[in-house]
């Protein structure tokens, strides 16, 4: 040890020795370990793969049908829509043309 002996150290060292463990402690530990099911450790790749697995094939089929329907409907409703911004620009440009026309008329 790397300590200088003094009163407090004598006091610390006068502590009674620790008791003995129960004679069957190690056997109890071994028994407890062998009788409890050992949790299976899985790698992070396996965990990731499991996250994408659907529980039953029927659910996988249903999910595919729903996905296909969603894609189909999104195509059906995908008509061109004039945005507010486009309309404003067109109005502005039209006004500019009228202004030029008025100027030419006044001349």
């Amino acid at each position: 040890m790397e300590h200088r002996p003094d009163d407090i150290e004598t006091f610390i060292m006068s502590r009674a020795p620790a008791p003995q463990a129960s004679k069957d402690l190690s056997e109890r530990i071994i028994h407890a370990a062998m009788t409890s099911p050992r949790p299976k450790t899985i790698s992070w790749i396996e965990q990731l793969r499991q996250a994408f697995i659907l529980p039953v094939p029927r659910m996988a089929i249903a999910a595919s049908v729903v996905a296909l329907l969603a894609v189909g409907f999104s195509g059906h409703f995908n008509t061109p829509v004039q945005t507010h911004q486009e309309k404003t620009v067109t109005d502005y440009e039209f006004t500019m043309v009228l202004d030029v026309f008025d100027d030419e008329q006044s001349l």
């Binding site: 040890m1 620790a18 463990a21 530990i29 407890a32 370990a33 050992r38």
Partner: protein, 200 residues
């Protein structure tokens, strides 16, 4: 195939490798090799026989159920690493509001070896005082004292177990000794005042 005693001469570290592979035999040898030693450490930390047994059992079951927590590449010895598990278990125990206790039954049985009943009583009181004094220390100071004085670890080893620098460990030891000194002074002052009251 390993024979019935195939692992008995193996190092702790190679036993841990075998445990990772699910070898019961390796686990049994590791448990039988270290239970007594670590039970004593656990007892020094918590002060109760039953609690100490539970701590050791939980620590070994942790190894068996999740051996991947042992990282061999980090280079720590098995015993150093196991001390850490016990210390962490003791911290968890104390967080669950279980203070360091004094096992009176054991202290009295230890003191019974004295020649006279008076000497046995004095010894039991002395031991209770030591246990109370150590129990009054904060957990880290008590751990530092346990490792350096009772487990006979060097300051460098104790610092490695506790995950601190040697200077920090020395500071913990200094504060622990100062704390014990204060406890002793307060205790003797209490004793004196008691004697005065009984005298009057």
């Amino acid at each position: 195939m390993e024979g019935p005693m195939g692992y008995s001469d193996e190092t702790d570290e190679s036993l841990m490798r075998a445990i990772k592979g699910g070898k019961h035999q390796a686990f049994s040898i590791l448990v039988r090799r270290h239970t007594d030693r670590f039970f004593k450490t656990a007892y020094r930390l918590c002060g109760q026989v039953q609690e100490a047994e539970d701590m050791v059992q939980n620590a070994f079951l942790k190894i068996w159920n999740n051996p991947s927590i042992w990282k061999e590449e980090k280079g720590a010895k098995f015993t150093t690493w196991f001390y850490r598990i016990l210390i962490n278990q003791n911290i968890d125990r104390m967080r669950a509001k279980k203070p360091v206790a004094v096992d009176d039954a054991y202290l009295h049985s230890f003191a019974d070896d004295r020649t006279t009943p008076e000497a046995a009583l004095l010894e039991a009181r002395e031991q209770q005082l030591i246990e109370r004094a150590l129990g009054s220390l904060p957990e880290r100071q008590r751990t530092a004292i346990t490792l350096c004085f009772y487990e006979e670890q060097s300051n460098a080893q104790a610092a490695q177990i506790m995950g601190v620098k040697v200077k920090a460990l020395e500071s913990l030891l200094m504060r622990a000794k100062a704390g014990l000194k204060v406890f002793m002074q307060e205790n003797s002052a209490r004793q004196k005042s008691k004697e005065v009251r009984h005298g009057t």
